[in-house]
């Protein structure tokens, strides 16, 4: 004679061990393995602290990945204690687990008792779709995507380098993008500054960039700084950011940024471009060299054509900006080998990439000292370079 559903459930429950939520609460502190067998959507609304999600429909195929040892003490729960009862029988009868129990009353009773519920930072259905190609890469996955969504990246400049970097970081779901730029969109920018467009000529670049980012990915919060970085505002602006993208066009600011970022221990992904050539390196304070270790002094004006306008192949800042964006993502997610202690030299005409080593300078005026020893007065200390530039016209 066949059983009704209710009869089967009673029979199952008589064959398995059950445990009261009060005992589970004690066992949590002892590190017992707790498995939530509800669906992933239910799990996302809140679960027992430390519980792992193995939906009952995937129990047999996924339990080994979560609990490889059959002798582990395992507690299963669901919403009310029924699905976990079936799952407990499967684990003990079919899969040979020695110590499996089902929590009576499920998470409903757990909540009624006033016990703690952990609500996971889950990606929304839309985010799962938007970032699906990231979620498919094991090196990024949900965890890496959440790191990106929590990250704060500051872009110095929304120009040639900043344009592609900002667009791709926004697309990648970097949660907060700060943009420092006091310029307005000019027709001559549009040969390479792809975040802006013809209709926005005359618009502040921070506004134009924000509009493009919003249209691309509304997940991203844009913080606008329509100003120039100088010694008086740099610490206030860069403090709190996880990574800084350096696309500045002059030496004084580059040295100022270096000194302040070392003091605040914020990594800087730096690139520069000229003509058909680009350079890229990652300066991670105290883990690798800083910019002053690489170039103790700026060159004289005639060797540093950064004072006025210079020609550049329009796609080159795209190439270098996207190398920067790649390094930013790697730093945030914590994968790969960032270009720390290495300088990459890209020759677009020759299609060659040369790499040279950069060492920490034990006598570096900045990063050979503790960050708290670097005073405000020392930030961006620099030979009289602006006067040199002015003299050079």
């Amino acid at each position: 004679m066949s059983l009704s559903g209710a009869e089967l459930l009673r029979q199952i429950k008589s064959q398995i061990d059950e445990v009261d939520p009060s005992e589970v609460k004690e066992l949590i502190d002892e590190g017992v393995t707790i498995i939530d067998v509800r669906g992933t959507e239910e799990f996302a609304t809140g679960h027992l602290p430390g519980a792992k999600s193995v939906p009952r429909g995937h129990l047999e195929s996924r339990i080994d990945g979560v609990v490889p040892d059959r002798s582990t003490q395992v507690i299963l729960y669901c919403a009310s204690g029924n699905r976990s009862a079936y799952a407990a029988r499967t684990l003990s009868e079919d899969l040979g687990f020695d110590h499996v129990r089902s929590m009576t009353g499920g998470i409903t009773l757990w909540k009624d008792r006033g016990y703690e519920v952990e609500i996971p930072r889950a990606l929304s259905a839309e985010q799962r779709e938007r970032y699906s190609r990231h979620l498919l890469i094991p090196e990024i996955g949900v965890e890496g995507q959440e790191k990106l969504l929590d990250a704060k990246v500051l872009l110095l400049g929304a120009g040639g380098l900043g344009s592609p970097t900002a667009l791709y970081l926004a697309a990648a779901g970097v949660g907060t993008l700060g943009i420092v730029d006091d310029d307005e969109v000019d027709l001559s920018n549009l040969q390479r500054q792809v975040i802006h467009n013809t209709y926005r000529i005359g618009t502040p670049k921070v506004e134009s960039a924000e509009e493009s980012i919003r249209a691309l990915n509304p997940d991203v919060k844009v913080v606008k700084y329509p100003t120039r970085i100088d010694a008086s505002n740099i610490v206030e602006i860069i403090e709190g950011y996880d990574v800084i993208v350096d696309g500045v066009d002059n030496f004084p600011t580059r040295y100022l940024l270096n000194d302040a970022s070392v003091r605040l221990k914020i990594p800087v992904v730096s690139a520069s471009i000229l003509g058909f050539d680009g350079q890229l390196s990652v300066f991670k304070p105290y883990e690798g060299p800083c910019y002053r270790c690489l170039f103790r002094e700026p060159p004289p004006a005639e060797l540093a054509p950064s004072c006025g306008a210079n020609g550049v192949l329009g796609v080159l800042p795209g190439t270098m900006g996207l190398l920067q964006a790649t390094e930013v993502v790697k730093l945030i997610v914590g994968i790969g080998e960032p270009a720390i202690g290495r300088l990459l030299l890209y020759d677009a005409l020759g299609a060659t990439l040369t790499e040279v080593k950069v060492h920490r300078d034990p006598d570096c005026p900045i990063c050979s000292r503790d960050p708290e020893e670097i005073s405000d007065e020392e930030l961006g200390v620099f030979p009289d370079y602006e006067a040199f530039c002015a003299a050079a016209g």
Partner: protein
């Protein structure tokens, strides 16, 4: 003969070439040979006291000569020297 990679800002001083050959048994000798063939490079590479300018890095293959023996570092046939002045290269 060693190969010297010339950075963009120095190319005008060597007739627009990206790479130039030069001879010498040390980094200093190779750079001196470059400076004698292309005199415009001398003041850009060397300071008045004959040392490398502090704003110019020179790499033997991929290593900074300052962590080797500086201008005395031995150079072999087929080695490549990279001259690298700081590049502020603009975003704007």
């Amino acid at each position: 003969m060693a190969t010297i990679k010339i950075p963009p800002v120095l190319r005008a001083s060597v007739g627009g070439e990206k790479e130039v050959g030069a001879t010498g048994e040390s980094v200093g000798a190779v750079l001196r040979d470059l400076a004698s063939s292309h005199p415009a490079t001398e003041s850009q590479l060397f300071s008045a006291d004959g040392e490398l300018n502090r704003y110019v890095n020179v790499y033997l293959n991929d290593e900074d000569v300052r962590v080797l023996d500086g201008l005395h570092t031995a150079v072999g046939e087929g080695d490549t020297l990279v001259i690298l002045p700081a590049m502020a290269g603009g975003a704007t």
